[in-house]
Structure formats: C-alpha cells, structure tokens
C-alpha cells in the first residue's frame, strides 16, 4: 500500500504512575483494511486506542493523521480528523434518549439549537445499520447491555468516520448481533474506512481482519498480515508459546439429583419457567441478547422478586427471598456488567475479593488484614491477576476486572454458580483457565448455570443449553443436540415465525 496511513502511532510510550503500560509501540491504520489489535488482558490495547483517539496523551512518540504528526491530539481533534471510537458502554448517558446519545458531541445545529429533525434522520440511519429498532426516544438506561453496545456502535457510525476504532465491540453480543456487526464492518471496509478491531474472540478476528498487531506487556510483538495465520498461530503470537485447546475435554459429570428445581417460575421478563438444574452439570442459557435470561438468574438468586408454583434449592423448598439467603443456600452470582454490578471500582482489589466474606462474617468480628492479604494473594495467583492488590479495581484492565468479579466467590465454595457472561472481555488464556475451573467445579458435584452470549462457549462447555426467547425457555438442547446452528435457530424462532406470518 502506498498511501499514507489515515491514523498512526509512531513509537509511543505511556506509563501510569511510573508503571510503563506501553513501550515504543507503533501501529498504522490503512484505509480499506480491518486491523486487529490483540493481546492479553492488560497488555495495553485500550491504552493504545486512548492515545490514538486523544483521550490520553503519550509520554513519548507521536500520533500521525494522514501522515502528518499531530502536536497534541485531543478528542476534538480526533473527531475533526474523522476518527470514531467505540468504547465499551463507557460513553453513554442513561437518561438521554438513543438519538441524543448517538449525536452527542456532534449534534446537527439550526439557529444554535440541536436540530432534532436532522438528528432523528441521521440517528435512525445509523441505528438501521446496526439493527437497532427501538424507538429513538428510548432512554439508553432502559436498554440491556447488548443493546447499549449497539447504540455505542451506531454512535460511532453517525460520525461518518474515516477511521473506526472498536474496543471489544462484540463482548456482550450474541452470534446474531455479531453477524450484523461483522457484515457492516465488511461493507465499511469496502468504503475505504480504516478499522481497528479489538477482540478476544479469535474466530471473529480470523473472519474479519486482514492485518494484526499484537501487544504483550506493553510492547509490540507482532505486526503482520493475517494471511496464512490460523487461530492457533494468533494465540501463539499473543502468549508466546503453544496454546492448548481452548475448551477442556468434555466429560459427563451430571448426576440425576437437582440442585435447583423450579416450577411455574416468573421473574422480570421471564414467566412460566420449568427448570431443573442438576448437580454436576454446566447448564447453558442461550438466546438473543435481552430476552430475559438475566432475570432468570437474578430471580433464582433472590435479587429481584420472583414467584414460583414450587421450588427446591439445594434441598430447601422455596426460593431465597434475598441475596444473603441465597448465599446461605450456597448460590453465588457473577454479573455481566462488572463495572456497575460486579465491582467496587474505587476500592482496592483485595477489598473487592473479600466482600462476600465480609457480607457473611459476624458484623463485629475483628478483621485480620494479614489473613485477608494471604487469601487475596492466593486468589490472585489462582486467576493470574498481577500486581499490587491494594490498587483500586479501576486500575485493572477490563479482563482482569472480570477475574476479580469471579474470584471473590471462590473461597466460599458455592454449590451453585450463576454466571452471567463470565468471559466477557477476557483473553483466551484466562478464558481457558475459567473454563477449566467451571468444568472442575461441575466435576466436583456442583452446578453451574452459564448464561453466555458466546455461542461456542455454550456448545463446547455445557451439558445442556436452555434457549430463551421472549421470556420463556423455548428449547432445552441436550449435549448430543448441541451445535451453534441449533442454538441460533432456536433463538431466532420468533423472527422466523414473524417472517412466515
């Protein structure tokens, strides 16, 4: 390619409080190319895009637009240069409508006022591209995580970018929505847009990208065309050694006993659910984003009001009425939105890890910092969370935050783990560790309920998958019948019917 890159970083370095996060990293985004940025959690990917988009300034090195160095990159300059970034649900305002969120920072104006007419037209066009059909006046706060992600993408498209940077755009999207996005990116590429794509889902990267830059511990370890590389090769580039299989070998461990059994269960969007969760199994919950799956978990966990005709939880009849009761019955829940529901970002990592313990211990028992420290270090080692545990959790990269959200339940040895997209934004190596943990957990005779938007995960990890559509469990796929197609078609059933009608 002879043209100058639309956007490039040349030898940039960045340190936070003296800890180097990026060292002498270069990257060049060419028009009409989807460029993958890969690396383990905490490798520095988000930091690099923050430098590229002017949200942060490099300690050294330069940012170039159209081959010319920019003295001081700012979000405003980036916008003028046609650079749009899809942050991970970070930049939305819950109380503003979809349209107002999409246009923010770049509203069309008329007589100094926001031109709602024009805004509606342009926002609608952007929404259409990503398949968002909610009314434009819907407050973003009413949307599920996955839909918000789509708004975030529509927001970037609205700006008609020349350079589009996406930081893990698919981490909370189901297969169907991912497909919409990948098709879209393909078309944008055809239009000559330069795209930088960060994802931990390597099959997507393989299908979509032409070029890859790999970061490891803040240094660039590879920058090459993707041609002739396979997923294994990619992982090798990232972790520097031969990867094993991502998914552990499946071995049946389910027993006939039910850990949780509900009849006529209703909670939130879910209604009339009959469900048996067996001890020793990993039960997957699949379906399109936002069909009520989350309410199923929350209802079982006592976090939202639920009704049942009858229920047994670990031998006790009736559902737990609140979270402490659920914990006492051996239930644990790991939320999907780790920033809002899973973690206390401003608190030290170790405090986050200890919280379930604090919730259960006698209120006035004296704490032992030493014992906490030891336990915390043990957990950190188990899940390879690096660094000082006294740092606030917000200093961790997204994937590592996810690990903390999971780790805090480990010491309690729960009988039933309710997991809401636990590998969202987690790098492959950690995913593998988590998968191993889950299977081992099941093998030890406990139950795992795995709600996931990552269909391969459901297929390879689960004993059974319950597919949810419009608040009901529409299909229960046994292990033998599990395949991506089966899950997707069960999930899409409603759409098909509509089309047929």
């Amino acid at each position: 390619m002879t043209t100058a890159p639309l956007l490039a970083a040349r030898g940039v370095s960045k340190a936070f409080f003296g800890n180097p996060v990026l060292r002498d990293v270069s990257i060049a985004l060419q028009p009409g190319r989807v460029h993958a940025l890969l690396g383990e959690n905490g490798a520095g990917k988000s930091t690099l895009i923050n430098l590229l988009s002017g949200a942060l300034r490099p300690d050294s090195g330069t940012i170039e637009v159209d081959g010319r160095a920019v003295a001081r990159m700012t979000p405003a300059l980036a916008r003028q240069a046609g650079i749009a970034v899809v942050q991970q649900e970070l930049s939305l305002t819950a109380s503003l409508s979809i349209a107002e969120n999409i246009g923010i920072g770049a509203y069309p104006k008329r007589f100094g006022l926001v031109d709602y007419k024009e805004l509606a037209a342009r926002a609608k066009a952007a929404c259409k591209l990503v398949g968002l059909d909610e009314p434009l006046s819907t407050p973003v706060g009413n949307l599920s995580l996955g839909r918000r992600q789509m708004v975030e993408i529509a927001k970037a498209l609205y700006r008609r970018p020349r350079v589009l940077i996406l930081d893990e755009p698919t981490s909370s999207l189901s297969a169907t929505e991912t497909k919409i996005l990948t098709d879209l990116l393909g078309r944008l590429r055809g239009e000559g847009v330069a795209i930088l794509y960060i994802s931990h889902r390597l099959n997507e990267v393989m299908a979509l990208c032409q070029h890859v830059t790999v970061l490891k511990d803040g240094t660039r370890t590879a920058d090459r065309s993707l041609e002739g590389t396979d997923a294994t090769g990619l992982v090798r580039l990232m972790v520097g050694r031969d990867p094993g299989d991502l998914f552990p070998k499946w071995q049946p461990s389910a027993s006939p006993g039910a850990a949780i059994s509900v009849r006529g269960f209703s909670a939130g969007l879910m209604h009339d659910v009959e469900l048996d969760i067996r001890t020793g199994e990993v039960l997957g919950i699949g379906g399109l984003v936002g069909q009520g799956q989350e309410d199923l978990l929350l209802g079982l966990y006592g976090a939202i009001p639920a009704r049942t005709a009858s229920a047994t939880v670990n031998g006790v009849s009736g559902l737990p009425g609140n979270v402490p009761k659920a914990n006492a019955l051996g239930l644990a829940y790991v939320p999907a939105d780790r920033k809002r529901e899973g973690l206390h970002l401003i608190h030290p990592i170790i405090t986050n890890m200890m919280l379930p313990a604090f919730a259960r211990l006698p209120s006035l028992k004296l704490r032992s910092r030493k014992a906490e420290g030891e336990k915390g270090r043990g957990l950190a080692a188990q899940l390879s969370i690096k660094g000082d545990l006294q740092r606030p959790a917000q200093a961790l990269s997204g994937g590592n935050q996810q690990k903390v959200a999971l780790a805090k339940w480990m010491p309690h040895d729960p009988l039933v783990l309710l997991l809401n997209d636990p590998t969202r934004g987690v790098d492959v190596e950690t995913k593998r560790e988590i998968y191993l943990m889950l299977r081992a957990f099941a093998a030890a005779g406990k139950a795992v309920v795995l709600l996931s938007s990552d269909t391969p995960e459901l297929v390879h990890l689960c004993d059974r998958v319950a597919v949810v559509r419009e608040g009901r469990v529409v299909r229960m796929l046994e292990r033998a019948a599990l395949s991506e197609e089966a899950i997707v078609s069960a999930a899409m059933g409603a759409e098909r019917r509509k089309v047929a009608a």
Partner: protein, 323 residues
C-alpha cells in the same frame, strides 16, 4: 484508605504522611501556630483544650455523619436530634436514678430509634436520604413544640453534669468521651466486616447487594449509629451549657457535614475515614474561634470565615476522580 496498607514500614509511613487525615491535622497545627502569633491568648493550653472540647461535640455528631456519608447517604436530622436529646433528657429523669445513667441511656435509646426510623425510610420506603432526614428534622420540630419548655426541671443529672464539667487528670470529660468514641468508631469502620459493608454499600450499592451485603439491616444500623452519636452529642452539649434549649443543636448540622468533607471523606460515599473527620472538627472550631477574635464588621467576618474554609480546602480537599 492509604493508612492500612500491609506493605513495608517505610511505605506505610509515607502513606500516612501523605494521607488526608494527616494533612488535615497538619493544617490544624499550622493554623494554631499562626494564630498564636497573631493573638497571644489563642495558643494558650487552656484555650486549645477548650477548642478540642468544643470540637468533641461536632466530632461526636460527625462520627455518625461519617458513617452515613461513607454509606452513600447524608443525615440532615442530626441538628434536630441533638436538640431533642438535650431537651428531653431532663424530662426523662427519675428519682430512682441517682447517677443519671438511666436517663442518659433512655435518651440515647430514643435518639437511636429516631435514627433507625430514618434508616427504615431510606431502606424500605426508598426515600432519598436527604429527603427522609429533612422530613425527620421537620417532624422533630413538631415534637419539640410539644416537649420544649414543658418542664421546669433543670438538668440535675450527675452524669451529664460530670460530662460537661469534670476534668479528670486535667482533661475535660467531653474530650475523654470523644477519644473513647473515636477508638470505637475507627475500629468499627476499619477493622470489622460491618465497616467493610458500609464502604461497599456507599461505593456501589448494587454490587454490594449482589455480593450478599444485607442492605436493609446495614442501612438501619448506619442511621441508628448517627442517631446515637447525635444523641450523645446532645447529652454532652447539655452538660457543657447546664441547660438545654430549642435550637441548641442547630450549629451542628452544617458543621458535621463540613468536618466530614474537610477530613477527606468523599461526599459521594464509599471513600473516607473518621480519622480525617477528627481533625476536620477541630479545624472548624479553630476557624470559628479565630474569626471571633478578629475585629471586623459582621460582613467581613463572614467573608473571612468562608475564605478560610475555601483556602484550607484548596490545600487538602481535591476530590479524586471516579467512575
């Protein structure tokens, strides 16, 4: 937070030296020294002791306020609770109670109950803390109309009198009380699971609740504590003035909030320590005393007071970024 790292001693010392509580304390000392140069009597031992004794009242009210603020709320009823405590204590004295302990305990039970009702409103009715406690303050005003002036019994309570006037070993009893309460509060806050739950609840109630923190009972406890410490402050201030009156608690509402924030506790909840509130309270009474001895018109004095708080805040009060 910084004061409790379990890493090496040197780092720990540095953490303490750069911590907000220590910074606030350093400011207090600096103001004391500067003021003593300006006015000889200001730095006299007796005066400083008196300032700390005054600080004890604010400090007690602010103890509960610190809990509430860290838990993500705010208590606007503390002033009314202080008044209710000081006014109702003489009403609750009995012949069969020569030390006065029983009436003090009865009053503390009453004010704690008031706090718990605040907690009920916040946790169960889900009324915003500011509204709930403001409404409670309004209720208590109504209550005061009924009970105030009704009794002509002066506080002939030995314990209360002792608290307000005795000086065992030369230290005013009020200061001793404050020290005892401070030790308890700091322990509760930083060395028990209960304390940890409060921080978690304040930083992110949703995540705390999903982690199994019992939100309702913790909220009740937090507001109950605030009612308790405000009641205790009412008892102390009654002893120091020999007499309760309607309005005796009024100065302590804004003072308690200011002490909490000057001490580095985030008004947004989830971060902070009572260790900062303590010097924060002393700082406030110090500034007030300083303004009193300055000869200026009321307008200028008010301006000076505000400017001093603002200036000290500039030295110590940066909010950390969050979210």
């Amino acid at each position: 937070m910084t004061a409790w790292t379990d890493s090496a001693g040197g780092r720990r010392a540095r953490a303490i030296l750069t911590s907000r509580p220590f910074l606030t304390l350093a400011i207090v000392v600096a103001v004391w020294i500067a003021a003593s140069f300006a006015s000889r009597g200001f730095g006299a031992y007796g005066h400083l002791r008196y300032l700390v004794e005054l600080g004890a009242v604010i400090g007690l009210v602010a103890a509960g306020q610190t809990f509430v603020v860290i838990a993500g709320g705010i208590d606007l009823s503390v002033a009314a609770i202080v008044t209710v405590s000081a006014i109702s204590l003489p009403l609750l004295s009995w012949q069969a109670d020569p030390t006065g302990l029983a009436s003090v305990l009865a009053v503390l039970a009453l004010t704690t109950a008031i706090g718990v009702i605040n907690g009920l409103g916040v946790a169960l009715l889900r009324v915003h803390p500011m509204i709930m406690t403001l409404a409670m303050a309004t209720f208590l005003q109504g209550l005061l109309i009924i009970i105030a002036g009704g009794s002509a019994v002066t506080a002939e309570n030995l314990l209360v009198h002792w608290l307000g006037n005795a000086r065992p070993a030369g230290i005013p009893a009020g200061i001793l009380l404050w020290i005892a309460v401070s030790v308890l509060v700091l322990t509760l806050m930083h060395a028990t699971p209960f304390g940890a739950r409060i921080f978690a609840m304040g930083a992110n109630p949703l995540a705390a609740s999903l982690s199994g923190v019992p939100i309702t009972s913790t909220t009740l406890a937090v507001y109950g504590i605030s009612g308790f410490t405000a009641g205790l402050a009412g008892v102390l201030v009654l002893g120091m003035n020999g007499q309760g009156y309607v309005g005796i608690g009024d100065p302590y509402l804004l003072a308690s909030i200011a002490a909490v924030v000057l001490g580095g506790t985030s008004i947004l909840g989830g971060l902070g320590t009572y260790a900062g509130t303590i010097p924060g309270a002393i700082l406030l009474v110090t500034i007030t005393a300083l303004i009193t001895v300055v000869n200026a018109s009321p307008g200028w004095r008010s301006i000076l007071f505000g400017s001093l708080i603002l200036g000290l805040l500039l030295l110590s009060g940066r909010e950390r970024a969050r979210r």
